[in-house]
């Protein structure tokens, strides 16, 4: 059995945390990271395209939506890698089907993140190994060894004024010479750490300023858990509402601001702790190339993924750009997927200890991993 201690208290160097951000609703990758010199892009979106003058130029080809400019420093210092024309093999263009397939990792029971965690160790996962911000366990964590949905740190506590109870538990578990006794003592230790956090006002480090929205709040809670070293292996947080059929700017602009502000503050707040953290941002599909009559875009295929964290050789937009000519567009006129999302997750899972278990996490898939880590 793996030592319970390594999961519950963490030992600093080894414990790595994977943070999965899911943009629900089908986020328009073309409106976040635009192929600036591609005429196909500007012709298809005469009213809503990001112009060259407004975009934050990344590499001579791609430009960032100006509302995402808080991500630019992370791109420049190599913390952030972008993968374009990424997505899944699902072509139903149905939110539900596409999210389900992506979070399960295929037509298969249970979530990919859950299978990753189960395969990590058939032994103990600590009580705080996996958390999800919000009100329900996301499908990617379905079937995880532990998966705690939480909104505040109070959810992890035994409650206030429990000293007598925890002392008594400490004495009884202290008498147990075996694994159960050890697990009890380490759990009491974790309860103690959480209680200290709960009762202290949180000050983000390094001058980080989070937004006042739920997404930022979720990232704040995750940052606190990472810093408290309570054994967090995976965290999931959603940012929903990207379904921009109508008036794309009204729908997407505030979400892009929230996304950029949250991610930027999170990275700044973690500081050195970011070395053992990876954040991956994904969405179920991108949008139609051509804008519709309502200044919006309809369900499409390829979108972008963002990966941030330690060891990333960022500052690059990865993935094969297929072009936007009629012969390459898919179905009703969509950016095709040239990088399967599993090929983005694979190198990340390897870094997080899943090298030998990729086949269990994503069965029946032939990997061609993106070289995120150089």
């Amino acid at each position: 059995m793996a030592d319970v201690q390594s999961f519950v208290t963490g030992n600093g160097d080894e414990q790595r945390t994977l943070v999965v951000v899911f943009l629900r609703g089908g986020a328009d990758g073309l409106n976040m990271v635009a192929p600036l010199p591609d005429d196909g892009y500007h012709n298809a979106r005469p009213r809503i395209a990001i112009t060259k003058s407004k975009a934050v130029a990344l590499d001579g080809f791609y430009g960032l939506n100006p509302l995402l400019k808080e991500l630019e420093p992370l791109y420049r210092d190599g913390t952030l890698a972008i993968i374009h024309a990424a997505g899944s093999e699902d072509s139903t263009r149905s939110h539900f089907e596409a999210q389900d397939l992506m979070e399960h990792g295929g037509i298969i029971g249970g979530g990919w993140l859950a299978r990753f965690l189960r395969a990590q160790s058939n032994a103990a996962a600590g009580p705080l190994a996996a958390v999800a911000l919000g009100s329900a366990v996301p499908e990617c964590l379905r079937g995880a060894p532990t998966a705690t949905v939480f909104q505040s740190l109070d959810d992890f506590s035994l409650g206030d004024n429990r000293n007598r109870l925890t002392e008594s538990l400490g004495r009884l578990y202290g008498l147990q010479p075996d694994d159960l006794g050890r697990a009890g003592r380490y759990t009491l230790d974790a309860v103690g750490r959480i209680d200290k956090l709960r009762n202290a006002k949180y000050h983000p480090a390094n001058g980080a300023v989070y937004g006042a929205d739920r997404f930022s709040n979720g990232l704040t809670q995750i940052a606190r858990l990472i810093k408290a070293r309570v054994g967090l292996q995976a965290a999931s947080v959603d940012l929903g509402g990207w379904d921009s059929h109508f008036s794309q700017a009204t729908v997407m602009d505030p979400l892009m601001l929230r996304l950029a502000k949250g991610l930027s503050a999170f990275c700044q707040d973690l500081g050195r702790e970011l070395d053992r953290t990876t954040v991956v941002v994904m969405t179920e599909f991108g949008r139609r190339l051509e804008e519709n009559s309502a200044f919006g875009t309809d369900h499409g295929r390829g979108s972008v993924m963002f990966v941030l964290g330690g060891g990333i050789q960022g500052g690059r937009v990865l993935g094969k750009w297929p072009g936007l000519t009629k012969d390459v567009l898919e179905g009703p006129g969509d950016l095709p997927v040239t990088t399967n999302y599993r090929n983005v997750l694979a190198p990340i899972l390897e870094r997080h200890g899943g090298a030998g278990t990729l086949g269990q996490t994503f069965p029946e898939f032939t990997f061609d991993p993106v070289r995120l880590f150089g």
């Binding site: 059995m1 319970v4 999961f7 519950v8 389900d100 399960h104 037509i107 298969i108 029971g109 249970g110 979530g111 859950a114 299978r115 189960r118 058939n122 032994a123 103990a124 996962a125 600590g126 009580p127 705080l128 190994a129 366990v137 499908e139 379905r142 079937g143 995880a144 060894p145 532990t146 998966a147 705690t148 949905v149 992890f156 035994l158 409650g159 429990r162 007598r164 109870l165 002392e167 008594s168 538990l169 004495r171 009884l172 578990y173 008498l175 147990q176 694994d179 159960l180 006794g181 697990a183 009890g184 759990t187 974790a190 309860v191 269990q360």
Partner: protein, 506 residues
């Protein structure tokens, strides 16, 4: 507790009917039946009074989800000695249809979808189906008098695990739970296996529905064939080869299930054999030859022979000695110890083989082993067992709400949520990280902070004869001096007992 008159009449009538029906049985059996039909009284009861866990408490820990207030005293009357009482209780549990279970049946009637026929299930929102299935499972485990049956339902649900989140399993698992697992949980293993092989949910979950070979170029889907051998029957080291897996897959080609989106709607979930997708060539499975079906035979005859290959395969694998060994070892792991003692496994496997997989006879052999009787208080309860035993021990009134299911989610042990086919692990190690949520649950339960679930602490303590009696009831033995001290020091005695190391074990 005073019984409503209507219920009293019903219990009375059914016991008379049962007496008549079992008139040819031995006398003690009738007595047992009568006793098990007596209503539980919500009054004073005698808890166990030994220094260590006695056999009756042990059997209630392992073959049931723990004792409710009064269970121990009540079942003690089933025999002159504790050993006789434990045996009599266990024996009566092997025949669940003869145990009146009106309370549990009444309680789960609210979960309407559990009784819906297969075709109707597709009319429901999948979330509702999942919730009712989980809540129904929890409610039955807490309330049912047929405790060993519920324990075996859990055992087989793991053995033939299906994660309903895959495709049409969202709807079909409800039928699988009812028609496969619950129908045969204390029946005969070959019947259970056959029902599972032809279960629409299993055909979906392990891809049997797409296992076909229209032409020689097509590769059969081996998923079900592999798990059939590795998990359901022979076991991973059971002596089969990759070739056997491929040959079993060939034998099972052509079986499929109607999916959503395949009209007509009323046939969704229907299991069919399509001879055009079956490989009629000769095969050899585990050394047994299955001859080719000549193309010259009339179509109906070919159809029949093609279908019969499934029966032949199931016969070969259920009779294989590795299957008895595999099932025996899993049962012993579940009921005796994480590392199942070899002697007990041999005895159980022998009973399984001798009776062609009669599940009650196999369990009877397990119960008779010294290893089962001696290994007391040493199994780490899985989270589901912990939650259910806490609800039972406290005599909680509960609606088995999603709030309780949520505790199980946090501990990674919600019913029907295991992603891969091997089912939830049945050893202590993977569950050691769940103590925080157990303690949280203990505190919430004892303080009545779970909506829809109530514990009456004062009357529980009074009925048990005070603090010492309550501790003995919860622990199944007299508390140690340290436990008694901690109970008083904690300021939350009930929560402390439920959270204590001893209550995590059974």
């Amino acid at each position: 507790m005073k019984l409503p008159r209507r219920k009293f009449l019903k219990v009375g009538a059914s016991s008379v009917a049962l007496l008549a029906a079992t008139g040819c049985d031995r006398m003690p059996r009738e007595l047992r039946l009568l006793l098990s039909l007596q209503p539980k009284e919500n009054g004073p009861f005698q808890p166990p009074a030994h220094e260590s866990i006695d056999l009756l408490t042990h059997v209630l820990n392992r073959a049931a989800f723990g004792a409710r207030p009064g269970d121990y005293e009540h079942f003690k009357k089933l025999g002159g000695t504790l050993t006789e009482a434990a045996s009599a209780w266990f024996e009566s549990q092997l025949d669940p249809d003869k145990i009146d279970d009106a309370d549990a049946q009444y309680a789960v009637r609210r979960f309407e979808t559990l009784n819906e026929p297969l075709g109707e299930l597709f009319e429901y929102q999948e979330d509702l189906l999942q919730h009712e299935l989980m809540r129904g499972t929890l409610a039955r485990a807490v309330l049912s008098e047929r405790q060993l049956y519920e324990v075996m339902v859990q055992f087989w649900s793991d053995h033939f695990n299906i994660d309903p989140s895959k495709g049409d399993c969202k709807w079909l698992k409800v039928a699988d739970d009812r028609e496969v697992i619950r129908k045969h949980a204390l029946g005969k293993f070959p019947d259970l296996l056959r029902a599972s092989a032809l279960s629409p949910a299993m055909l979906w979950y392990l891809d049997g529905r797409v296992n076909r070979r229209e032409n020689m170029a097509e590769k059969p889907n081996e998923n079900y064939a592999r798990e059939l051998l590795e998990l359901h029957t022979l076991g991973v080291h059971g002596g089969y080869s990759q070739k056997d897996v491929m040959e079993v897959a060939r034998c099972l080609t052509g079986w499929t299930v109607r999916s959503r989106g395949q009209p007509p709607n009323f046939q969704i979930g229907k299991v069919e054999f399509n001879p055009a997708h079956h490989d009629f060539g000769a095969k050899e499975v585990l050394g047994q030859r299955i001859p080719a079906t000549p193309a010259t035979l009339p179509p109906e005859e070919r159809d029949r022979l093609g279908q019969h290959e499934l029966e032949r395969i199931l016969e070969i694998v259920t009779r294989h000695p590795s299957t008895a060994q595999h099932i025996g070892a899993k049962l012993c792991r579940h009921f005796i110890a994480d590392e199942p003692p070899a002697n007990a496994v041999s005895a159980v496997a022998a009973a399984f083989s001798r009776t062609s997989g009669d599940i009650p006879a196999t369990l009877r052999a397990l119960f008779a082993t010294d290893e089962f009787r001696e290994q007391r208080g040493s199994k780490f309860k899985r989270p589901f067992n912990f939650i259910v035993s806490a609800l039972r021990a406290t005599g909680a009134r509960t609606d088995a709400s999603l709030e309780i299911v949520d505790y199980l989610h946090r501990m990674g042990h919600a019913p029907f949520n295991y992603p891969t086919p091997e089912g939830y692990p049945d050893k202590a190690a993977p569950w050691m990280g769940t103590l925080l949520w157990r303690w949280n649950f203990a505190v919430a339960l004892s303080e009545n902070r779970i909506k829809g679930t109530q514990v009456d602490f004062e009357s529980l303590r009074a009925n048990a004869g005070g603090d010492n009696g309550l501790m003995a009831h919860l622990l199944g033995r007299k508390p140690t001096p340290q436990e008694a001290q901690a109970y008083h020091d904690s300021g939350a005695g009930l929560a402390l007992m439920l959270a204590s190391p001893a209550f995590q074990r059974c």
